[in-house]
């Protein structure tokens, strides 16, 4: 692979340009006659570059990215399933893409009805009573969920102080709890990798507002005592929160609402196939049971006189959590996905994600340590413990996979497993891909045992070798040094 691409700034050359813009209404008028000079900047050191050179630059950068279309991407907890092409086409239809969010309701009935129907479908998929589509990501949904819980308890007279979170939880969970003004109480998992009922019991006092969990949990195990957990939590007047990051294996099988959850957030970019975009945009809708409906953010899409309106008159609402109506462009793709799948498709999706994960687990457990040897759901966690003897860590295995064209699994998470390697194949990968992965993982295990020094050098086939993260953090370089061109006037300000 070609080495450095060079930064866009290094490709700039004075006087080149790509842009073309329409003529303004008063072409003869100087800007200084419209805006006082004291507000005007003197210089903007942006690159000057032709259109083709821009295209070449970004095309070359694109070639340096692993991606689902090009590579197996078994990144645990992230559900890197195939992103159907039709959804992209649908979301870019002009009559979705080019609507201003302030258009009066009667001109946007199509999108409002899509959003409304999406809320209803998500309710049916999760057994909740109402959904809010506005959160822009899972973490944003968690934050909203915590605020709803706060509002619920406040209404009952006391907001309470604490939220219980398992030690195996996603980092966003305790962080969202803190952001909403709650204290985090962390409880350990039991020897089977599930919620420790006794630990839960003793942590549950009258200051606990909610228990926040994911099911299946981050070890990929279904919490088999979920009904008892719900019963215990509710009996203390606390609520049960569902982090929906791991909903995929349960599609068509069972629903968080039926398990006793009061609030759920979903990750449309995981379970419902919308692309991750290199880190976003995502979408993290929040669903609630009846007792929390009054607190949902405004505006609420409601029917009135045969049409749909945006109702902002909700006195108990927690308010707004984002401008406008959420990541609508993402929601459209997830809507389209659910419509394509229907009941049968969703169920097949859930089931095959579980089959694929268990198949890999069974095939790999001989070569790698498997801390919880039980039937898993959509993902499972291996440990590089066996390989430690020859000095090989999870990170070395990850880098070895990169050289073999496979995006590594999630490593070092969950934190409760030493040298964790978390594998989530998803349902969209074929048996051939899974078998190839198994062979590659075995090959790497062999290297680790016999010639660890080779693995320590990986990756060798990428545009860069292992990068110095210590240097990156010690000597911060987070912005290009725009040097002042000599032939230009004084800088801005």
């Amino acid at each position: 692979m070609e080495k450095s691409s060079g930064l866009i700034f290094e490709k700039s050359s004075r006087g080149r340009k790509a842009f073309s813009l329409p003529e303004a209404a008063m072409p003869e008028t100087e800007i200084e006659s419209l805006i006082p000079g004291k507000y005007l900047r003197k210089n903007l050191r942006f690159p000057e570059i032709s259109e083709l050179d821009i295209v070449r630059h970004f095309t070359h950068l694109a070639s340096k990215n692993f991606n689902v279309d090009g590579n197996f991407y078994p990144l645990g907890s992230c559900t890197m399933k195939y992103n159907p092409k039709v959804n992209e086409d649908i979301a870019s239809m002009e009559k979705f893409r080019d609507i201003h969010p302030m258009f009066p309701e009667k001109y946007v009935q199509g999108i409002l009805s899509l959003l409304k129907e999406m809320e209803e479908m998500l309710c049916r998929i999760t057994a909740m009573d109402a959904f809010c589509l506005y959160p822009a990501a899972g973490a944003h949904g968690e934050f909203l969920g915590m605020l709803l819980i706060r509002a619920y308890h406040e209404r009952k007279g006391k907001i309470r102080k604490k939220i219980i979170v398992p030690d195996s939880s996603h980092g966003t969970n305790p962080s969202s709890v803190h952001m909403a003004g709650y204290e985090v109480v962390s409880i350990a998992s039991d020897k089977n990798g599930e919620v420790d009922l006794e630990a839960l019991e003793s942590a549950l006092d009258e200051e606990v507002a909610a228990f926040m969990m994911t099911n299946p949990n981050t070890l990929g195990l279904f919490e088999s005592k979920i009904l008892e957990i719900a019963e215990k939590v509710h009996s203390r007047g606390a609520l049960l929160y569902y982090d929906g990051a791991n909903l995929n294996p349960l599609l068509g099988i069972c629903r968080p609402g039926d398990m006793g959850f009061d609030v759920v957030h979903l990750n449309l970019h995981k379970t419902f196939s919308t692309p991750h975009g290199g880190g976003g945009p995502g979408s993290g809708p929040v669903g609630v049971k009846k007792h929390l409906v009054p607190f949902l953010p405004v505006p609420v899409i409601e029917e009135k006189d045969g049409g749909l309106i945006l109702n902002r008159q909700k006195p108990q609402s927690v308010g707004s959590i984002k401008s406008f109506f959420g990541n609508v462009g993402v929601i459209i793709k997830a809507y389209s996905y659910i419509k394509a799948l229907g009941d049968e498709g969703l169920k097949r999706t859930g089931k095959l994600s579980v089959l694929n994960a268990n198949y890999l687990k069974q095939k790999l457990k001989g070569s790698y340590h498997l801390p919880f040897d039980k039937t898993c759901m959509h993902e499972f966690v291996l440990s590089a413990k066996k390989q430690l003897d020859s000095g090989i860590h999870a990170v070395d295995i990850a880098k070895g996979l990169i050289d073999r064209g496979i995006h590594p699994p999630t490593v070092y998470f969950p934190m409760i497993v030493e040298e964790a390697i978390m594998i989530e194949p998803t349902e969209t990968e074929s048996k051939n891909t899974l078998d190839e992965f198994v062979n590659t993982m075995k090959e790497i295990a062999g290297l680790a045992a016999k010639t660890p020094e080779i693995l320590k050098k990986a990756p060798i086939k990428m545009s860069v070798k292992r990068l110095d993260e210590v240097q990156a953090a010690r000597v911060l370089d987070v912005c290009w040094n725009f040097e002042k061109p000599e032939d230009e006037g004084q800088e801005d300000g």
Partner: protein, 127 residues
């Protein structure tokens, strides 16, 4: 693993060098080894009064952040500003150039809770 005999220690891996009514505090060789390459040290402000057992300093490596708790109460009289420029002193000289702060001891009775080198060595060999 180096554990100087003339220092005092805590179970949370801080060392304490006592000089009259002042104490110099840092983290042990064992702690710096566990942390890996230190990339940043968030130092306390000189002049702040701090209570024993409270978080005084944050030491960051690439993938972890560790809180350093002050084992003694009192006023912070000096901090090692060298660490702002080069935090790697924590790694290269945990008991020397990597010292973190100096405190004016408010209550000498708190010294009784500190452990000596032998006890600390036993503790880390258990881990």
């Amino acid at each position: 693993m180096s554990i100087p005999k003339d220092f005092k220690y805590t179970f949370s891996h801080e060392w304490i060098k006592i000089e009259d009514d002042k104490a110099l505090i840092g983290v042990t060789d064992y702690a710096q080894d566990k942390l890996g390459d230190v990339v940043f040290v968030e130092l306390p402000k000189v002049g702040t009064e701090i209570e024993a057992g409270h978080e005084a300093v944050v030491i960051e490596s690439v993938k972890t952040a560790a809180d350093v708790y002050t084992p003694l109460s009192g006023k912070i009289t000096k901090v090692n500003t060298l660490l702002d420029k080069d935090p790697s002193f924590i790694n290269s000289g945990p008991y020397g150039k990597g010292w973190i702060f100096e405190i004016e001891i408010r209550d000498k009775r708190e010294l009784e809770k500190l452990i000596d080198a032998q006890v600390y060595e036993n503790k880390i060999s258990e881990d």
